[in-house]
Symmetry: C2
Subunit: 302 residues, 2 copies
């Protein structure tokens, strides 16, 4: 291939949606995933697909890492068959996973030593907005990294927050967002369960609260999963075990107490301990159910 | 007076706004407050005003109690110079304060014994919506109580949630709302302070989060107070010391654990302990400041 390409590493719900958005924008796009069914899905859309990051990175101008965490980010870049075996000098790497800000800073320095650009670029918006090219990106990096990433950013996002010239600033903002999002999920489940325990109809709790000062983006988004008794993972409990863990680690590293976050983290840990780590994060409500005799919508169904 | 009147007991920011809305709706209205300046303000609007609930309740068909808590609700009804010294039989009492659901249930029974109707009717929306007649009311009570309260409700609220026939159901919903609202305020301040501690510009935190999944009604409403360095109480720290206390008491009474709420309550208590009980509830951010070296907007100004 002579035309520089764009690659998306990781074709989960977010990555596949992003790869499709990039393709729709007219950029030659390679998707990379170990799972054959994910590759097949992307090929059916007209994309290229391969199983190793090294294959995807060959001839690539911009490479988005849409994996779960820092370990996977490390592996797909530096591991065997990793992208750095073939990524051309001067290419830009977009780190889209939620990772510790310190990891993003170090990664930027390591890639700079190899002659690569790095954009610390965590994403927000969920799978639907990934598929429609309407994500929000909380990004930081050099002007050169922003410029090189621009076609890819334009294809996947409607909002790109430019948070500064240093990797780490994007991940710090994402960490603040995840702190709020995670606590709001746990609180939604705590308050909903209290309402049920106190005799309220859960649907009426949803109707009243979504129009009142107690509302949050997460309450409005996650409580319907409980009302439908549907814990199919849109985002799993273990994601917030990890992400609130990142928040608490950052607080510990800078001597900063986070008591509300710590309490919420325990509730995600409890759900994970109950065997619900892979369930939708709304399943935190089952922690409260396990400690009381509340009935939840869908209980008793086959 | 031959025409039955409406009375509002307590002309604080909420009560005065409600009394003005009732007056604007064309109902003869008496406002009652111990503070002469509050009475003078309402008389200037064309209302009647008096200093004791007993005076206000004479000839009254509907009486709204817009006081701070259960103790004040008790006092303005049953205390010396209280409304029950003169309230006509068959009148409806609207309990608008945030009180324990069990208190609302008992109050309904006590008023029924005296031949009065009771609507458990906590309000939500803040002083601006009280003044514009656009409150939300989380109400429960008998059909007769709803019917008798209707002209007053129509004058002050755009949304009346009818939550059931028993006093206590309205206060239970309000308790669930306050649980969420209080935790969201504490979490907003925890996350904002973490962002500042981690090097983010607080204004950029506000801009990004209000468009992201970490947003809450309270984050969007209260963080600007911090950005402006303005802790003039719109709603004070001690209100949530009380309201989260009601939530935790209800949990304790029914053997229901509320770990996230408990952690948030401690942060309001800490702010109150710092002497900030009368300050705006956004002043919870100063608890985090006291435990770190973060700088807040407005620090160092005269």
């Amino acid at each position: 291939m002579s035309q520089p390409t764009t690659a998306v590493i990781g074709l989960g719900a977010m990555g596949l949606g992003m790869a499709r958005s990039v393709l729709r924008a007219g950029l030659p796009t390679t998707g990379c995933d170990l799972r054959e069914e994910a590759r097949t899905a992307f090929i059916a859309d007209g994309g290229h697909a391969c199983a190793t990051p090294a294959e995807a990175a060959a001839g690539c101008a911009a490479l988005a890492l849409v994996v779960v965490n820092a370990n996977q980010t490390e592996a797909v870049l530096f591991g065997q068959g990793g992208a750095l075996e073939s990524l051309p000098e001067g290419a830009v790497v977009l780190g889209c996973a939620t990772v510790p800000p310190a990891f993003a800073r170090e990664l930027g320095a390591r890639l700079a030593e190899r002659g690569m650009l790095f954009l610390d670029a965590p994403i927000s918006g969920g799978a639907l907005k990934a598929a429609s090219g309407e994500l929000s990106v909380m990004a930081s990096g050099s002007p050169e990294a922003f410029a090189a990433a621009r076609p890819l950013l334009d294809a996947v996002a409607t909002t790109v927050h430019e948070l500064g010239p240093e990797p780490g600033q994007g991940s710090t903002m994402k960490m603040v967002n995840q702190c709020l999002a995670g606590v709001h999920i746990a609180t939604a489940m705590e308050a909903l369960a209290l309402g049920i325990r106190s005799g309220l109809d859960p649907r009426s709790v949803y109707e009243v609260i979504t129009g009142a000062a107690g509302n949050s983006w997460m309450f409005e988004n996650r409580v319907p999963h409980v009302l439908d008794g549907d814990y199919t993972p849109r985002s799993a409990v273990d994601i917030f075990v990890k992400d609130l863990g990142i928040v608490l680690d950052a607080g510990r590293a800078s001597g900063f107490p986070l008591p509300v976050t710590a309490a919420a983290h325990q509730q995600f840990l409890a759900a994970s301990g109950m065997g619900l780590g892979g369930a939708d994060d709304a399943a935190v409500v089952k922690v409260y159910q396990a400690l009381s005799d509340i009935e939840l919508p869908g209980d008793g169904e086959a």
